[in-house]
Assembly symmetry: C2
Homo-oligomer: 113 residues x 2
């Protein structure tokens, strides 16, 4: 259950409703009802999605009267971006066949040593 941060971020993002909620928060703070409005889903379902996003620290929440507004926290997305770094070289070069490319990379490594 104490899943590592990267896993819980990826898990939170592995759902189209949650990604849509995040996207909706890019324009600023929103209440739960605001966020729920576009979806054909009950409020408790939205509450649960928000809990998943909150545990992953992708959103933060405050209190304003009976509202519990949410805002985006980009930190975990930045962490994913950093994690991706090790893979960028695999698509940034232009190549047709991955095997050729890997071979090329390995050859280059040898030359660098």
């Amino acid at each position: 259950m104490p899943s590592d941060p990267l896993s819980s971020t990826f898990h939170a993002l592995a759902d189209p409703t949650r990604r849509a909620i995040l996207a909706s928060l890019t324009t600023g703070e929103k209440t739960v009802s605001d966020l729920a409005e576009p979806f054909d889903m009950t409020m408790p379902a939205i509450t649960k999605h928000l809990k998943v996003l909150e545990k992953a620290k992708l959103i933060e929440r405050s209190k304003q009267a009976q509202y519990r507004p949410c805002h985006l926290n980009p930190g975990p997305l930045k962490d994913i971006d950093s994690w991706m770094e090790q893979y960028r070289k695999f698509w940034e070069a232009s190549f047709d066949c991955l095997d050729d490319y890997l071979h090329q990379l390995q050859t280059k490594e040898k030359n660098d040593e």
Copy 2:
């Protein structure tokens, strides 16, 4: 069940074993036994992880005698990178308080119109 590509990629990445397998494939093609070796897990468990990665198109497989070597396919990672684009501005600017930043962004939007 026919989950969208982005969801199935994020889901595949939401597991440390699968991420470790991917990382291991950055150095080139590996057999299932090679990939399984670092983990305290049975072979069928690894086979299942590979199936998840394969369905997400993060790996591709071939046949060589009794071996079924795997290699990395960076395509879906590139797609995640593109998806992230809309969030980059949220961490690329330097700011202390997200609310201030959001307010700033909204102000800027108004000025742009």
